[in-house]
């Protein structure tokens, strides 16, 4: 893009652009998806520098507001200039030019989770199921194994008895082990041997 324009954008973002130029740039900004995306990225940089922790940096908040406003009456009559068609399909409300992000989600997810999964070797990605890579090993530690997003446990549920024992034991584990145990219990555990009827007597064994 035009460097002078971007430089003006940067100054306007900081409220350091003369008013007359602001007026002109505001008009361009309102209909130029590319400029909007860049403007949005400037905001993100600021949020990171201020360490606005806990705030999602790529929240589709702006997109949602935009969607709601589409249905709102305009505050006054206004003809919107035709959009710059080159970027017409940009999702400007996402900090990184949208289409590219959507298509490369698989790459992005794997990149991120490489940092998170133990040892750095496993590539476990939360991606839509159409991305499939060969898996190696039952423990999920394979080279690139894609799992669908975890869903609430369906058929396999623990026996209440086992749940009791797990909780009772957790009071005697070392604190780190206890954290692991209860966390696993909080998410789900799947005893081999199939479903337990929730209404069954709690003392019954699974089979």
């Amino acid at each position: 893009m035009n460097e002078e324009l971007d430089s003006q954008l940067s100054a306007m973002f900081d409220d350091e652009l003369p008013p007359a130029e602001c007026e002109l740039l505001a008009r361009r900004l309102s209909r130029d998806e590319y400029l909007k995306a860049r403007w949005g990225r400037y905001a993100i940089v600021g949020a990171v520098i201020r360490a606005e922790r806990g705030v999602r940096l790529n929240a589709p908040l702006a997109g949602r507001v935009n969607a709601v406003l589409l249905a709102e009456p305009a505050l006054a009559a206004h003809t919107t200039a035709p959009r710059d068609r080159r970027y017409a399909r940009l999702r400007w409300w996402q900090p990184l030019a949208g289409a590219a992000v959507a298509a490369s989600v698989a790459t992005v997810s794997i990149l991120w989770l490489r940092a998170q999964t133990p040892g750095g070797a496993a590539l476990v990605a939360h991606v839509p199921a159409q991305v499939n890579v060969a898996s190696t090993g039952a423990s999920g530690q394979g080279d690139s194994y894609v799992v669908p997003r975890p869903k609430p446990p369906a058929a396999l549920v623990p026996s209440t008895e086992l749940a009791n024992y797990v909780v009772a034991h957790s009071m005697f584990s070392n604190p780190v082990a206890r954290g692991n145990l209860l966390s696993a219990f909080m998410t789900s555990e799947t005893p081999p041997g199939g479903a337990e009827e929730p209404q069954s007597d709690v003392k019954a064994l699974a089979h």
């Binding site: 520098i49 201020r50 360490a51 922790r53 806990g54 998170q116 999964t117 133990p118 040892g119 496993a122 476990v124 939360h126 423990s139 999920g140 530690q141 194994y145 799992v147 975890p150 869903k151 609430p152 446990p153 549920v157 623990p158 209440t160 008895e161 086992l162 749940a163 009791n164 024992y165 797990v166 909780v167 009772a168 034991h169 009071m171 005697f172 584990s173 070392n174 604190p175 780190v176 082990a177 954290g179 692991n180 145990l181 209860l182 966390s183 696993a184 219990f185 909080m186 998410t187 789900s188 555990e189 799947t190 005893p191 081999p192 041997g193 929730p198 709690v202 003392k203 064994l205 699974a206």
Partner: protein, 342 residues
């Protein structure tokens, strides 16, 4: 919006602030000189922090190829421990403990388990590392690194045999909280991991933090009978083990009634100073008509094993490899009169 400026001093301190913390933070207390702590002392400091500090954090839990987010809130106030662990996605389960009351909310099963554990009010009921422990684990500091801009000591606890698991712990230098922890098997493969995404240590946490977020309308409530004074070993049978994996010894023997169960259960705890295994023995003999098959289960990376010994169902649970719980369960023996078919 102008403000008074001191020029170069401000720049210098700003640059320093950025380099050190990379972000706007409150002043942090000067870190203690921590060079002198031994790896074992780091672990002890860590256990202390986890059990005595007030904190509120969210963390990711990775196990079996899945990652879930959870929240932990922990408070010690006037000697009473309160904690709340909640699944932030998926099951929506919550575990809340206030003093002697433990409550497990299982929305996916529309069940609430309520227990009273008067004996567990004490803060320190977990295994403590002792000299013996060093015979079975190699404990050393393997690194000193910055994790999310915090100085951490990486402590590795490596088992010397296949009866137990190992750990790698990223212990925060100033708070001794484990910002990241990995459970590793005897081959060094990571099988479980917890990483904190946010963690706040605060002086005050209100009671409202320990209320569940879910609605329990229509749920089944299972309480343990208020029978806190069961005598351990008062059953007709006393249980013991003939042998244990190296380093393990019994540390606790108690009895309790678990929520939803009709009878008492003897609870034995074995530990090697780091890992522990509980064995639960039902006092009521198993009904003879019902075929009972030994059964293994896992809860995350912990192992459970049920079987029948001398006509009583026993279940062993612990953060050890499956073979270890099977071994210990298999070594259980009843002593004393064992009348048949009671």
């Amino acid at each position: 919006m102008s403000r008074p400026l001191r020029t170069s001093g401000r720049l210098a301190s700003l640059a320093l602030a950025w380099a050190v913390t990379g972000a706007a933070t409150a002043e942090e207390p000067a870190p203690k000189r921590s060079l002198e702590y031994s790896p074992t002392e780091w672990l002890q400091r860590m256990d202390q922090a986890l059990t005595t500090r007030n904190y509120d954090g969210t963390f990711s839990h990775w196990q079996g190829g899945r990652v879930e987010m959870l929240r932990i809130i922990h408070r010690v106030q006037d000697g009473t421990v309160s904690e709340r662990l909640a699944s932030l996605d998926g099951s929506g389960r919550e575990f809340i403990r206030t003093g002697a009351n433990l409550t497990c909310y299982l929305p996916d099963r529309r069940t609430v388990l309520v227990e009273q554990h008067p004996a567990e009010e004490s803060l320190v009921s977990f295994p403590t590392i002792n000299d013996q422990t060093a015979s079975f684990y190699d404990i050393r500091e393997v690194g000193h690194t910055r994790l999310n801009r915090r100085d951490t000591h990486i402590i590795a606890v490596s088992p010397k045999d296949e009866y137990r698991y190992g750990y790698r712990l990223w212990v925060d230098e100033s708070t001794a909280m484990p910002l990241k922890s990995q459970l590793v098997d005897a081959h060094g493969q990571v099988i479980e991991q917890i990483v904190f995404a946010s963690l706040t240590l605060s002086s005050r946490i209100p009671d409202s933090a320990f209320r569940p977020e879910i609605s329990t309308e229509g749920f089944r409530w299972l309480h343990n009978d208020a029978a806190p004074h069961l005598q351990p070993g008062a059953a007709a049978l006393a249980w013991s083990v003939t042998s244990l994996p190296p380093g393990f010894r019994m540390t606790v023997r108690s009895a309790q009634v678990l929520p939803g169960s009709a009878g008492a259960v003897d609870h034995l705890v074995f530990t090697d100073g780091f890992a522990s295994v509980s064995v639960f023995v039902e006092r009521q003999p198993a009904p003879s008509g019902q075929p009972l098959v030994p059964e293994s289960a896992t809860v995350g990376s912990s192992s459970a094993f049920s079987t029948v010994v001398d006509g009583h169902k026993i279940t062993a649970v612990g953060e050890v490899p499956p073979a270890t719980v099977r071994y210990i369960a298999g070594q259980l023996k009843a002593q004393g009169a064992a009348p048949a078919g009671r």
